[in-house]
């Protein structure tokens, strides 16, 4: 996957765009493959047709020229037989033999070569052969010449006929050479007559056929490409429309629908798609309505609960202040009423805060906050509880401000929750009755880590501590009267800042909670300036 991406990055932009188009367009791929397949088929068929035509033309021509050559030879033999036997000048006899044939050849379009007597080892190339004017006698292939080294019947082969016209220009064109032998009465030698028939006409015919076939093939391919393009378009266009509508649906425009034309498969696909969209829309509306009603309900309940709770609270205060005037039992009841009202109120406040997060109604009021100041303020705030529990809370300041763009109320609440939680889990008065708040920051982020040496966390508990109403040990007594929602609220507060809230702990070795906030709101965090695992712990190297 990644190596492919790297390879693609190194390609030039134009090629990459082309590849992207190829990957994305079914239409392009279907058209291209159809055209390639058609081209292969058309080439094979065209090649076959051409071969057939060529063979037919040549066969026909060969039988015609062999017949003509035989005619000429027969004619020549007849003339030789009719010649007066007294004439013994073989040279003049040769001329007499060939002159009429050359003349006939000139009118009929073939050339003639008369080669020397067989058996003397002479070659046409050595000279002395009679031939048509302007013909290069080398046009007679050596193989045929060798065939006629001894007396043999008529034979033919293909060759290149080279001629030189009056202007001295030499041209070569394909042709057929037919050889047959005659016996010259003057010297009794057997001479070979080569007839060279040009194939110009056939070549022209073949070229014409080839051009016609090529034109037909190109037109056919264009037609196939066009047809495929049209056909795929009919299928792809509705699919593309469906894709666009699906994208809009996914983007939240739930009222988007496909247009349905006709009753074919695509129309039915569109109908089903629309049904699916309608069902989705209904479900989402229902859920939204439910969630809205629930939010409204929580908000109403909160308002309705708050006013009577205030009254009860004040009445309880009045009773609590006057508890010394009551008999001991009633006085104690007034005290219990007061303390339980505190807990009730805290729980209500926490529940409302959580419900506000759930409703997405929490807003960030961000400004530059120095976490060192926050740590000191939290220590001041929690001092009464720490003193009461015999725990000391100290701040380990880096000596420079650790700034983060954050909502100071929320950050203070997070740190206060972490510190009270740490106090709550620390055994009072012991050697480890010290809680250290480490503060650190750099140009990207700022962090606060709260380290305690209390009971610690069992493996797997570090992730569960942020669950609502979660308790490490259900049987454990509630000491500081926490609501069980503190860390959940802290986590929601942290998420609102785009920060991290993480826990580390080992049984019997204490725990550390680390809050990391980005320096600028909305910038994703990459790392924390403080370690999650405390430096005072020797972690076994895993």
């Amino acid at each position: 996957m990644s190596s492919g991406a790297v390879a693609q990055r190194s390609l030039p932009a134009g090629l990459r765009r082309g590849l992207t188009f190829w990957r994305r367009s079914i239409q392009a791929r279907v058209v291209a493959s159809t055209v390639v397949l058609s081209a292969v088929v058309v080439s094979i068929v065209g090649w076959f047709l051409l071969q057939q035509t060529r063979e037919g033309l040549l066969d026909h021509r060969v039988s015609a020229v062999v017949a003509e050559a035989n005619n000429e030879t027969t004619d020549a033999r007849a003339r030789l037989a009719a010649a007066p036997g007294t004439d013994i000048d073989s040279a003049s006899q040769q001329r007499d033999l060939i002159e009429p044939i050359i003349q006939r050849g000139a009118t009929r379009g073939f050339s003639v070569v008369l080669a020397g007597p067989v058996g003397e080892g002479g070659r046409i190339a050595d000279g002395g052969a009679e031939s048509t004017l302007g013909l290069d006698t080398a046009s007679v292939p050596l193989s045929l010449e060798q065939h006629f080294d001894k007396p043999a019947p008529t034979a033919w082969t293909y060759t290149q006929i080279r001629t030189t016209d009056e202007n001295g220009v030499t041209r070569a064109h394909p042709g057929i050479v037919v050889g047959s032998q005659v016996k010259l009465p003057s010297d009794g030698g057997t001479y070979t007559l080569y007839y060279l028939f040009p194939l110009d006409e056939e070549q022209e015919t073949l070229a014409l056929v080839t051009r016609a076939l090529l034109t037909a093939a190109v037109l056919l391919l264009v037609l196939v490409a066009g047809m495929t393009w049209l056909v795929t378009r009919q299928v792809v266009t509705p699919i593309r429309m469906a894709r666009r509508v699906a994208e809009r649906l996914a983007a939240g425009q739930l009222q988007e629908r496909l247009q349905v034309f006709g009753e074919d498969d695509l129309a039915r696909l569109a109908t089903s798609f629309n049904q699916m969209a309608s069902n989705l829309q209904r479900q989402i509306r229902q859920l939204e309505e439910l969630s809205r009603v629930q939010r409204r309900f929580v908000s109403d309940v909160s308002h309705e609960l708050r006013t009577p709770l205030t009254t009860v609270r004040m009445a309880s205060d009045v009773l609590h202040d006057a508890r010394h005037d009551f008999d001991p039992a009633t006085g104690r009841a007034a005290e219990l009423l007061q303390s339980e009202l505190d807990r009730f109120e805290m729980l209500l406040v926490d529940l409302l805060e959580i419900s506000r997060f759930d409703a997405g109604a929490a807003v960030l009021d961000a400004e530059d906050v120095n976490l060192v100041d926050v740590a000191h303020r939290v220590v001041d705030m929690t001092r009464p509880l720490a003193v009461q529990r015999g725990v000391e809370v100290v701040v380990d300041s880096p000596g420079h401000p650790c700034l983060a763009e954050a909502d100071v109320r929320r950050v203070e609440r997070i740190v206060r929750n972490l510190v009270t939680n740490a106090i709550d889990h620390t055994e009072p008065g012991g050697r480890g009755a010290e809680i250290v708040i480490h503060v650190g920051g750099d140009e990207h982020s700022a962090a606060i880590a709260v380290r305690d040496h209390g009971v610690g966390l069992a493996p797997g508990e570090a992730a569960m501590v942020f669950n609502r109403f979660w308790r490490a040990d259900p049987a454990r007594a509630r000491t500081s009267g926490g609501t069980g929602l503190g860390l959940s609220i802290s986590l929601e507060d942290t998420h609102l800042h785009g920060g991290w809230l993480q826990a580390w702990g080992r049984p019997g070795r204490g725990a550390q909670f680390r809050l990391t906030l980005p320096r600028r709101a909305g910038v994703p965090l990459r790392q924390s300036p403080l370690p999650l695992v405390p430096v005072d712990t020797e972690e076994p190297v895993a």
């Binding site: 006013t307 009254t311 205060d317 506000r356 109320r409």
Partner: protein, 237 residues
């Protein structure tokens, strides 16, 4: 239960408080607690009757619920503010930013979220009505404004500027130490009388209100200057 009988004869009422809340039990409970603390108080359970009660009773402070039958608490707040600078403390069941800010912008000095602790409420009330000791003759200047602390008046080249007592306190606090930058927390403590850190939006809203009255151009403040990341200070000009 002698506390409920009211103040001792040699000690007059510490102040008069108008309680506007639609919940009759809460309003009655509030009057009981306030009476214990030495304040005289009167109840009003309808928004549309609040102005009549206000003019008739002339309270030193108004406790105002935001959700009222007859007339919205926000509107009542604006009407009171239109004719008087008397301190207004909102009682709200919603701690959400929007409600609080709307309430503060309509003229309330402070707010308490239900359910509140009675002692907390009383502390806030005390902070707002504590003007007994006649201040010494003192005149300050900040920018082109002159402040007469004893006469509780602010003038710009002889033209008086009308400020509520809270805005006046805020301005005086800044003007007394023009070299010092005040954090929002310090201002909350010195002007509002909070002992613990509270909602700094109170400061933001009231600084905006003060600026809209005393600045030439509230967009470019010269008298109450923001020190980014720290707080506010008096301008040098």
């Amino acid at each position: 239960m002698t506390q409920l009988a009211g103040p001792t004869p040699d000690n007059a009422w510490k102040g008069r408080i108008l309680v506007v809340d639609d919940d009759a039990s809460l309003a009655e409970m509030l009057t009981i607690v306030l009476r214990q603390e030495g304040f005289d108080s009167r109840m009003c359970t309808r928004g549309d009757l609040a102005m009549d009660e206000f003019r008739d009773y002339k309270p030193d402070l108004v406790l105002l619920d935001l959700m009222l039958p007859g007339k919205d608490g926000i509107d009542v707040c604006k009407e009171i503010r239109a004719e008087s600078g008397v301190p207004i403390v909102m009682l709200t069941a919603k701690g959400d930013t929007v409600d609080v800010v709307v309430g503060l912008e309509s003229g309330a000095d402070d707010y308490v979220v239900k359910p509140f602790k009675p002692k907390e409420l009383v502390a806030r009330i005390r902070a707002r009505v504590r003007r007994y000791d006649p201040p010494a003759q003192e005149s300050l200047s900040i920018g082109d404004l002159s402040i007469d602390v004893a006469g509780h008046s602010v003038t710009r080249r002889g033209v008086p500027i009308s400020l509520t007592p809270l805005e006046f306190d805020l301005l005086v606090c800044l003007a007394r130490k023009p070299w010092q930058v005040f954090t929002r927390e310090v201002l909350l403590e010195q002007v509002w009388g909070y002992r613990h850190a509270a909602d700094t939006r109170l400061v933001n809203v009231h600084v905006q209100r003060l600026r809209s009255k005393v600045e030439h151009d509230p967009e470019n403040p010269e008298i109450v200057v923001t020190v980014r990341g720290v707080g506010y200070k008096a301008g040098n000009a």
